[in-house]
């Protein structure tokens, strides 16, 4: 397998990397291990050596060094903070993903990646659940849902929210708020996984089929806006589908935090005050990669008595460890990163930890259950719906 998957620019970038180390201390994985090979700088240097030694052919032999290197590629949350701190503004995140893609094609990726891919292409969700049960969350939560042929707003629920008990309240909250506002909204007739896990894991072979299905179905419904409570789904629709399909879908894609912000500005909702100290954890895929930083803060600021900013937040926010499929490839590491992040969030003295991503909510929530005197970790949509008395 040649390194043709790496663009010419990326191969240039590997040599352009200044090796200044500005990225190193910002990498949550390096922060945990302290070993150079786990740092973005270390990985770029190792890649450079491989390119020097093997020319354009990467990962052709299954030596111990290659195996260890591929492990480093998957011991990464793809949080993208390394690129933000890069002296040369290199697109390191894209480099990591392309390298994962190469290792998948060479059969060197961790088993869990293949398993996820196989599972996803069966019932079209990452949990391998029967696709008929995709809307069971509504039954469990008692949510009032709508499935129409046409609608102004399409609510894309996502796999984690649909199938994971801990997150189904987010779907209940979102539907309750959409109904409260009186929106003309709908769920998809047949919602497939957005495919984002395929994109970040490098198992991209069938991704186009997924993107085509979801985009075509939504365009047939003439939806103007797709809203999701999952930043990963939003990224798939907004960034990955146009790349895979070669065109932009005919609808806008926003996260539910952005819609809440619009509702507040337009006076469509009023949220009763919450007399508590809260702090907000920025999901990487929403804040850094999606550029949505101010909206959730404006929403929270409109009703929370005391909103405290944690350290390492906003665009440079620290990853909770849930991203990049790390939970599947190295769940112990993912848990440790969540504990570290939660410690930072707890140090604000907040009674409620709020986020806006089902994966972050889960990972932080699980870490919280391992802490004595654990704090509530809540999704923004749930907190708003609860305050409004809608759930």
């Amino acid at each position: 397998m040649s390194s043709a998957l790496l663009s010419k620019l990326q191969r240039e970038d590997v040599f352009a990397c200044a090796q200044c180390g500005y990225c190193v201390k910002w990498c949550p994985i390096y922060d945990r291990s302290g070993w150079e090979s786990t740092s973005p700088r270390g990985k770029v240097f190792l890649l450079k050596k491989m390119l020097e030694n093997s020319g354009p052919n990467l990962f052709t032999s299954n030596t111990r060094i290659i195996t260890e290197f591929v492990q480093r590629l998957f011991d990464c949350t793809t949080c993208g903070r390394c690129g933000e701190k890069c002296h040369l503004e290199l697109d390191l995140l894209d480099l990591w993903v392309r390298l994962r893609e190469l290792s998948v094609r060479q059969g060197l990726a961790p088993e869990s990646v293949g398993l996820m891919e196989k599972t996803l292409f069966g019932p079209k969700n990452i949990f391998g659940m029967d696709s008929q049960s995709q809307r069971d969350w509504a039954t469990y939560t008692g949510a009032e849902i709508k499935v129409q042929d046409q609608a102004e707003i399409l609510y894309f629920v996502g796999c984690v929210t649909s199938y994971s008990g801990r997150s189904q309240g987010v779907a209940q909250a979102i539907t309750a708020i959409l109904n409260h506002v009186g929106e003309n909204w709908s769920l998809m007739g047949e919602e497939w996984c957005c495919g984002h896990p395929l994109a970040v894991s490098g198992a991209t072979e069938g991704y186009r089929e997924i993107a085509e299905h979801n985009v075509r179905a939504i365009e047939n419904m003439h939806a103007k806006t797709v809203v999701s409570g999952c930043p990963g789904c939003c990224l798939a629709f907004r960034e990955e589908y146009p790349r895979v399909l070669g065109r932009k879908p005919n609808f806008e894609v926003i996260h539910f935090a952005q819609l809440l912000d619009r509702y507040i500005t337009q006076g469509k909702i009023r949220i009763p005050k919450l007399d508590a100290i809260a702090t907000y954890h920025d999901p990487c895929e929403l804040a850094r990669l999606g550029g949505v930083v101010d909206e959730p803060r404006r929403v929270l600021g409109s009703f929370v008595g005391n909103l405290i900013e944690p350290e390492e937040s906003g665009r440079f926010g620290r990853c909770c460890g849930a991203g990049g499929l790390l939970k599947a490839t190295n769940s112990a590491m993912s848990g440790e990163l969540a504990e570290k992040r939660l410690t930072m969030l707890n140090s604000t003295g907040a009674q409620v930890v709020v986020s806006a991503c089902p994966s972050c909510d889960q990972n932080l929530g699980e870490a919280s259950s391992r802490f004595p005197n654990s704090k509530r970790v809540q999704d923004l949509a749930e907190l708003v719906a609860q305050q409004m008395g809608l759930m």
């Binding site: 040599f15 352009a16 090796q19 180390g21 190193v24 302290g34 150079e36 090979s37 260890e68 290197f69």
Partner: protein, 479 residues
């Protein structure tokens, strides 16, 4: 008993690695080594150790001294002369784990930090206090306290406050024998100026107590463009005497900026040089300095830029390597030159660049009114191996010229060790004596600074090095 097992007994299993992948990851610093000569040195450490306390670091050093195993201390490896890279394998001591702020005496302005602390973290820590750092390196976002102490200690703030060693109250060091001791300006047997800048060959810096300076009530950055380099140099030299900024930097462009297009404005693209920097002091002093700056820039034919552009340029001071994207490799050689000879040095660098068809951008930081840290960035391509090797001769040529001007190489490491005698003959003699005294078994960063020793235990003769590079330079056009 294996080396790994012996070291593990000192620091524990999870902080020792002999993995091949890890050894490669630690086998380099900023500067790519031409592949043709990598064979001369054993850059791969045999074992990497991450101590978590000074006691552990001292324990490893003591063990290495007993077993006669080379030790290479390493911070963030942001220096480009091989100081943090092994040349004979051995133990690599990764000191980044020793990164704590040990104590802060807010009344006296004394801050004690461990060697692995990153300068930018210290700057951020002090932001909430009434104190400031007098001096910090241009690589502050990643470079460590120990690394800066070991490699010269000149940087932003040196113009006003001198080098790092002048701003250190005391230092806890680990000697090559593993003994831990404290030195200060009144130490009898060895003083900080003898050890600072010793490039990790005489001691390992463990902790430093920094003398801070009171935060000034007012501060402002400044920026001006010049079409004529000579005008920019003249104005800069005048300003450092008249107004004494915290820092003053002159950036001279070859064709780089034109290729890169305007960073800030059309005038920027056309400028041959820019001057930027930072004033701090009482509000009226800062205002007076800014007025003097504006007048002098106008008199010198420069273009004064607005405050927001000055702020942007000052915030970019940690990113001089951005042009590397056009390389992809940069060749550099920091030298100290007398400020009244700077224009000659810049012209010389440009001529050399033209001869070798290398574009160049030059960063010049005034470290005193009379001395400039000259930092050229020649664009090259390490993938064209022979051509890159030929290009690398430019570093020797620059140092040679700096020495004839009364300047010197800023550091020696492996690659510039041949210039130590010509640059600083007296210091080198004293340095060699200290090395013998402090490191009788030659275990701490051996084969550097005083000599460039190969993996075979032989030092490269200067005549061979000089002849080799000069020949390559002449053959350069054929590569």
């Amino acid at each position: 008993m294996s080396l790994e097992k012996t070291v593990t007994d000192v620091v524990g299993t999870d902080r020792v690695s002999t993995s091949d992948l890890e050894r490669i990851a630690y086998s380099h610093d900023l500067a790519p080594i031409p592949r043709n000569i990598t064979g001369l040195f054993n850059n791969l450490p045999d074992i990497i150790v991450k101590p978590q306390s000074l006691e552990e670091a001292a324990g490893v050093m003591k063990l290495a001294n007993r077993l006669r195993v080379p030790v290479t201390p390493r911070g963030s490896a942001t220096w480009g002369y091989g100081g943090a890279v092994p040349t004979m394998g051995g133990i690599l001591l990764d000191l980044r784990g020793l990164n704590k702020i040990v104590s802060f005496d807010e009344a006296k302005g004394l801050l004690t930090v461990q060697c692995g602390a990153v300068w930018k973290d210290i700057l951020d820590f002090l932001e909430k206090t009434g104190w400031e750092l007098p001096v910090y390196p241009s690589s502050a976002p990643s470079s460590t306290v120990g690394g800066f102490a070991a490699t010269g200690g000149l940087g932003y703030g040196s113009l006003e406050y001198g080098s790092l060693v002048e701003n250190v109250a005391s230092a806890t060091i680990i000697l090559p024998t593993g003994e831990k001791t404290v030195i200060d300006p009144n130490s009898g047997w060895v003083t900080p100026p003898q050890l600072f800048g010793s490039e990790g060959t005489l001691c390992v810096f463990g902790e430093l107590t920094l003398r801070l300076v009171p935060r000034r009530p007012s501060a402002a950055p400044f920026l001006a463009y010049f079409h004529q380099l000579s005008n920019a140099v003249e104005v800069a030299n005048d300003l450092v005497r008249r107004t004494r900024p915290f820092s003053l930097i002159l950036r001279a462009f070859g064709f780089v900026r034109a290729r890169e297009r305007a960073l800030l404005s059309p005038e920027d693209a056309e400028s041959g040089a820019i001057i930027f920097g930072y004033y701090a002091g009482m509000p009226d002093q800062v205002e007076e300095s800014l007025s003097s700056f504006a007048r002098r820039v106008a008199d010198g034919g420069g273009i004064l830029r607005p405050r927001e552009e000055a702020e942007f340029e000052w915030s970019e001071r940690f990113y001089p390597l951005r042009i590397k994207k056009l390389g992809p490799t940069v060749l550099t050689s920091d030298v100290l030159v007398p400020s009244n000879r700077l224009i000659e040095m810049v012209q010389h660098a440009w001529q050399l660049g033209c001869e070798a068809s290398m574009d160049v951008e030059i960063e010049n930081i005034w470290v005193s009114p009379d001395q400039v840290l000259f930092f050229p960035l020649f664009l090259s391509d390490e993938r064209r191996t022979l051509r890159y090797l030929s290009h690398s001769a430019i570093t020797k040529k620059l140092i040679d010229r700096a020495i004839t001007m009364g300047g010197r190489s800023y550091g020696y490491g492996v690659w510039n060790s041949f210039h130590f005698t010509a640059s600083e003959p007296t210091r080198r003699k004293e340095f060699a004596k200290l090395k013998t005294l402090l490191d009788p078994n030659d275990v701490l960063n051996p084969g550097k600074t005083l000599t460039a020793k190969t993996r075979f235990g032989l030092s490269l003769p200067k005549v061979l090095y000089a002849g080799f590079l000069e020949t390559l330079w002449r053959l350069g056009e054929w590569f």
